[in-house]
Homo-oligomer: 249 residues x 2
């Protein structure tokens, strides 16, 4: 049996990468093409499903289900909504359908959709649940500038930029800091970086791969500030740890 | 002009994912197929190039150059060796060849091969240098267990496990810790995790995607220890930060 073929009655959480249709993996493309049902969760705030746009060339006669979910910081509401979706998915799988959920980026890195997997784990056997990794936004962001994210004994820390106090603490705890949702409080974040003399070591990509909406800034100390959207990822090269000298080769 | 087509005189650092040939991106596959030269750096300790194995189905009449490099913690030796390789690559590009360097995982995440990009940046114009992201070992490791790496305001820290004091400090500084090269001092690392009561929250994959050599351990407190190789990645779920309550929705 080819484990990478879409199997009847199975569920696949598939990462489709940052949005560019050719940044999907070969495996993701095959699973999507062969699926009975494509599930595209979409925030109520969004007009379109970017994940669905990313896989447009692969959509033929699969059933496409767009499932809206609320963007809320309320844990019980969040889990209730995803629980309902899990009921539908597990029901479809019991009837022998293969269901592929598409998620921008990687399904296990800051992906709201991983609540669905959590809910499904209570309803379906583990061997029928699969996750397929995808290129995360931070990898695409880094690749725009050719700079290594991390080498030797450097520490790479990934977090959202929503809590600036936590961001400030993190500056002491890693050599490279990746901030998701970096535009949430961009003025506050830029002021913080300026105070730590790190503006010239910070870069960002907003709406990466989304054509004319894409913004790339290689050095934030030389940037004319403007409004950016939700999907903004910042990379801050704080320093290099190198190889720790006390450690044997 | 299609920027994703392999262009004459250009260099591409391409991530090929963790080793499984169908975890390449569609773009990586196309760039490799269309290249004049495929460059596969290989550690002197390795008998084979795993990156080259991962792309075997894509190799036809391209010229394949295997370049051995020393695995040393000596920075000047490392840079000298990669500098010589950069001379060769930039010379080929000046003669109009397209050169694709293949790297396991992602070329910007703990990839020795990113020294080559650093050296090339001094010899070639930026617009002829490209990085294409690949699935990193830690993403594949996480996907084996279906558990979210990071959600909400969790911090995800990636580092090598070579300095156990730094690892111990990191346990206080993130919600999820990813350790590359986790088998370097595995007994020491396991003792450390036991002391922090984290063994049952730690999992690992060794030689992922390498057939019978692959080892998966979902819970390190229930594991019969054995020797593991260089390519061992550990994930430790220390806790969850959730949404920080003081932050507005």
């Amino acid at each position: 049996m080819d484990i990478n073929k879409t199997q009847a009655g199975h569920f696949y959480a598939v990462g489709v990468g940052p949005g560019d249709p050719d940044l999907l993996t070969l495996r993701a493309a095959r699973l999507i093409k062969d699926a009975d049902v494509i599930l595209a969760p979409q925030s109520k705030k969004s007009k379109t499903s970017l994940a669905l746009q990313a896989i447009a060339p692969l959509v033929g006669d699969q059933e496409v289900v767009i499932s809206q979910y609320p963007m809320t910081r309320d844990n019980s509401k969040t889990r209730e909504r995803w629980g309902l979706l899990a009921d539908d998915v597990s029901d479809r799988c019991r009837r022998g359908q293969s269901v592929v959920q598409v998620t921008l980026g990687d399904p296990l890195i800051f992906a709201t959709s991983s609540y669905l997997m959590e809910a499904l784990a209570e309803q379906m056997p583990t061997e029928k649940l699969h996750v397929e990794p995808g290129i995360s936004a931070f990898q695409m962001t880094a690749s725009c500038f050719n700079d290594a994210l991390t080498l030797q004994e450097d520490r790479l820390l990934l977090m959202s930029a929503t809590d600036l106090l936590a961001v400030e603490n993190a500056l002491e705890q890693c050599e490279t800091l990746v901030l998701f949702k970096a535009a949430g409080d961009l003025p506050g974040l830029l002021t913080l970086l300026e105070r730590h003399n790190l503006l010239h070591r910070a870069k960002l990509v907003s709406a990466g791969g989304q054509g004319e909406h894409e913004v790339r800034v290689a050095d934030l100390s030389r940037w004319q500030r403007l409004d950016l959207g939700y999907m903004t990822t910042m990379i801050i090269h704080i320093g290099k740890r190198g190889w720790h000298e006390d450690v044997a080769s």
